[in-house]
């Protein structure tokens, strides 16, 4: 096509170019050709802008959907439940309430039934369905705080069932919608921040399901990952960058590391399943196994970031240290490593963020069981935040939709904080030589 843009120059066989008239840019043909080219230019540019805008729109749409769906997960609807304790006649000794057996005593006295009865007498036949399954636990805590309420009529705000909660915030079936409207008109519905979402563990009832158990599992797993991947990653980065002779072995190490960084994460899960669970008989679903698996996964990320950071330290620093008599080990550990540390830390945090969001390998090593309480230690069964999101997303009960999105928001907040920390470290400590 280039031949159409510029008039052809006749072949001259090395002699003077043949004479030809200069191009007349004013002619109609030339002008329209230029207009066409400029239009193509504008189209191309718009296409590029459109691609950027479309990608950004995807991001906004994704985050927006999660925010809108998830906001409700942090809120819970409470019902002011009138309780006439003398009429309910709970068979409980006052002395027991001051002791450690108070929970058992109240449960044995039929408190759960009594709360149901109170709900029926207050809100009609379906009253019991308006309360969350664990509503009586709130009443129990209230009694333990102040046993004297057992002698009088009190009103206690208890969590509403997820159907009432959804009806109060969103569309629902007409019957429930009407019930919610009636409760609202009676002034019985209040809304508050759902602390139990942040402090509770997994549950089959969406109103009482919380993420603390999964969050603690994530923190334990990350601790193991960091404790293993950071030292090993940094040490091998130092070796490869500073000491490794150039031979077939170090080439092999390099190829391995570059490839490991691109191996699908689920393969690491298969490795964990076959080696840690199969060969070493380590406990299933334990944070220590998850941490080991993720450590192998992010170690190459740390090695690559570490090598780049070490490479960026100028040779003059090494020469100066060697010049005043430092040994090769001292040069690295006293001079190069401190200067490279911000870069290494940035890479480590980015690797840890990747590990925190990882799901597939942890499914392979069995971290997908229902765990109703926060893990005690590194060997007890646990789940992690992304797996909890996956498990909730499979739940049929509609109350879990907003719980899932709320858990996603918590996960994204953690990731955002980690990335912000990485950016801060890079800007604060990065030295340009």
């Amino acid at each position: 096509m280039s031949s159409t843009l510029v008039p052809e120059v006749p072949v001259t066989n090395g002699r003077e170019p043949a004479e030809r008239a200069p191009t007349d840019w004013k002619t109609h043909a030339m002008q329209s050709r230029i207009r066409k080219r400029y239009a193509a230019e504008r189209r191309f540019r718009l296409l590029g802008l459109g691609a950027v805008a479309l990608s950004a729109a995807f991001l906004v749409f994704l985050l927006g959907t999660m925010l809108i769906n998830g906001a409700g997960g942090f809120v819970r609807t409470e019902i002011a439940l009138p309780l006439d304790f003398p009429a309910l006649s709970l068979d409980v000794e006052r002395e027991q309430l001051a002791q450690r057996g108070a929970d058992l005593a109240l449960a044995g006295a039929g408190l759960q039934n009594a709360v149901g009865v109170a709900a029926v007498s207050a809100f009609g036949d379906e009253g019991e369905d308006y309360l969350a399954d664990n509503a009586w636990l709130t009443v129990r805590e209230a009694i333990k705080d102040d046993p004297s309420i057992l002698d009088r009529r009190v009103t206690i705000a208890v969590p509403a069932s997820s159907r009432i909660h959804l009806a109060a915030t969103d569309d629902a079936e007409p019957a429930i919608e009407a019930a919610a409207a009636r409760l609202n008109a009676a002034g019985a519905l209040t809304r508050g921040f759902n602390w139990s979402f942040l402090t509770g563990s997994d549950s089959t009832d969406p109103t009482s399901a919380g993420i603390w158990g999964a969050l603690k599992g994530s923190l334990l797993t990350m601790a193991v990952t960091l404790a293993l991947a950071f030292p090993i990653g940094v040490l091998s980065a130092i070796y490869l960058e500073e000491y490794a002779p150039k031979n077939r072995w170090t080439d092999l190490i390099e190829v391995s590391i570059n490839n490991l960084a691109a191996v699908p994460s689920i393969i690491f899960g298969l490795l964990g399943l076959a080696v840690f669970l199969g060969t070493f008989n380590m406990p299933r679903s334990a944070p220590i196994v998850g941490g080991l698996t993720l450590a192998l996964m992010i170690m190459p990320v740390i090695v690559i970031a570490g090598r780049n950071a070490i490479k960026a330290v100028p040779p003059s620093i090494r020469d100066a240290a060697l010049g005043v008599g430092a040994s090769r080990v001292q040069v690295v550990f006293h001079h190069v490593l401190p200067l490279a540390l911000p870069g290494i830390l940035t890479g480590t945090i980015i690797g840890m963020a990747r590990a925190l969001g990882e799901t597939a390998p942890l499914l392979m090593i069995g971290m997908r069981a229902f765990i109703g309480s926060a893990p005690e230690d590194l060997a007890s069964p646990a789940t992690v935040l992304p797996v909890q999101i996956f498990l909730w997303s499979d739940q049929v009960s509609s109350g879990f939709v907003e719980k899932t999105s709320a858990a996603i928001i918590v996960l994204l907040v953690f990731l955002l904080a980690m990335n912000a920390l990485a950016i801060y470290l890079r800007n604060r400590f990065e030295t340009r030589w």
Binding site: A51, L59, M66, L240, N258, P264, A360
Partner: protein, 458 residues
């Protein structure tokens, strides 16, 4: 003692050794008859190394060995005679008894486990004390040996540095060990699978339905071609149809047209897309994109529209890959020498003509390598397809129909409560091996191309 206190103990003893040895070396120095070869601190490190290294190696060895010793000891007790001979039940009872040991007041599912629990408790405690004893003994032996060598002429620094170099070498060997571990574990389990199912049935069979595996001919329903097709269709066709145009055009716009301020803001913004966890994409695909596409397809009159369509998974996966393609393209375009770009512009070409005829052709190897890496990432992606694609293995060209992938099937096969030795479980490892080999080859080729391309312009 359990693992962590033991490790702490090893480090504590090493710290004490460091302090004592440093003090001793400092006294030698201040007595001043002879000059020390190494600094007192280096003598300290030498002793600490001799305390920590053997102790930690022993702890690692012991934590691997002692559970087996405990089980052996428990099996030797008279109560263990009632255990079923072998198999799953025996393991379950032993596991339950171990879990019961050390916890009080919990009831047991199996009464036999309850009778074995005290034995477990006794032997776990006994072997823990034996382990602690040996660890302390080793620490003292190592420390004493090192301590006796402290002398003015002793080259502690040389010794410590030799130790440090060994540590560095071992750390970098772990990468090779991991690769080897992945390869061998996949190969080993796959070999067991291929002893049951013939390799040709697996690689070329077109029926995939692991729910019904016949005893006589297990290979008949374990043909992986529909999975390979689904993986290729979702990861390499649909996802790339989204990611390549959007990623490439974004990179071109941000490097060639955008004002520096726009570039400074938009580039990190797009990188966020790569930082969002895949489980979030999966949830988004399953909850929002899938149903929306099904309704849209029904509106257009597609007969087999499914909310678990290949299109939903592929589309969302493509969005996830955009920043990946765009940053690879960005790098390769930036690597083209400016003189080529300036030359083209100086000849009167417009920016788009320069990009299309000079920059892109010159950057093509890098861009292609980037796309290969992106494909390798897309076909290894798991959570999006697990949550948004279906389990039905179809060979179809209709993106509205459901398709399944290798990764989705690995997850499905391994999350049932099947035994470890069934062809169903082992098939997951064979699929894993196939996936590993394919991504490995893609990565090697792409990394080669990138390297050679970089050298061409340097």
């Amino acid at each position: 003692m359990t693992l962590f206190p033991l490790i702490l103990l090893a480090f504590g003893l090493a710290l004490i050794g460091w302090l004592v040895a440093r003090a001793r070396a400092a006294r030698l120095q201040s007595s001043g008859r002879e000059r020390l070869h190494s600094l007192p601190g280096q003598h300290g490190w030498y002793v600490a190394m001799w305390i920590a290294a053997p102790t930690l190696i022993f702890i690692a060895f012991w934590s691997w060995l002692s559970p087996a010793l405990v089980v052996d000891a428990v099996l030797a007790t008279p109560e263990a005679a009632q255990l079923p001979a072998a198999g799953f039940e025996r393991q379950a009872i032993l596991g339950e008894a171990r879990a019961l040991a050390g916890t009080e007041g919990l009831g047991a599912f199996n009464p036999l486990a309850e009778t074995l629990a005290p034995a477990f408790e006794v032997y776990i405690a006994r072997y823990a004390w034996i382990g602690t004893g040996i660890a302390v003994l080793l620490a003292f032996a190592g420390g004493a040996y090192a301590f006796t060598r402290i002398a003015p002429a002793f080259r502690a620094r040389t010794q410590v540095e030799r130790g440090v170099m060994l540590m560095l070498l071992v750390a970098s060997l772990i990468a090779i060990l991991t690769t080897l571990g992945i390869f061998l574990s996949l190969l080993f389990e796959s070999a067991r699978f291929f002893s049951i199912v013939s390799i040709t049935d697996f690689l070329f069979g077109t029926v995939w339905s692991p729910q019904v595996i016949s005893e006589r001919d297990p290979g008949a329903t374990l043909g992986a071609v529909p999975l390979f097709w689904g993986t290729f269709f979702i990861g390499a066709v649909i996802a790339m149809a989204v990611a390549i145009p959007l990623g490439l055009m974004s990179a071109i716009y941000l490097t060639q047209y955008a004002a520096p301020a726009v570039r400074r803001w938009m580039k990190p913004l797009l990188e966020i897309l790569a930082g969002v966890p895949t489980v979030v994409y999966g949830y988004f695909a399953a909850l929002t994109v899938g149903p929306a596409l099904r309704d849209f397809a029904a509106l257009l009159g597609f007969p087999y529209a499914s909310s678990e369509s290949a299109l939903a998974a592929g589309l969302v996966m493509g969005v996830m890959i955009i920043p990946f393609v765009s940053s690879m393209a960005d790098d390769s375009i930036a690597a083209v020498p400016t003189s080529m770009r300036d030359g083209s512009l100086a000849m009167g070409a417009t920016t788009s003509e320069t990009i299309g005829r000079v920059l892109l052709p010159a950057a093509l190897p890098g861009v292609v390598a980037g796309i290969l890496l992106a494909v390798s990432r897309a076909i290894g992606e798991t959570m999006i397809v697990v949550m948004a694609a279906s389990g039905a293995a179809n060979i179809t060209l209709n993106p509205m129909e459901s398709a399944t992938t290798v990764t989705k099937q690995i997850v499905d096969l391994l999350t049932g409560e099947a035994e470890f030795d069934s062809p169903k479980t082992l098939a997951a490892f064979a699929l894993g091996l196939t996936l590993f080999v394919i991504t490995f080859l893609l990565n090697i080729v792409a990394l080669r191309v990138v390297k050679r391309y970089r050298e061409a312009y340097e």
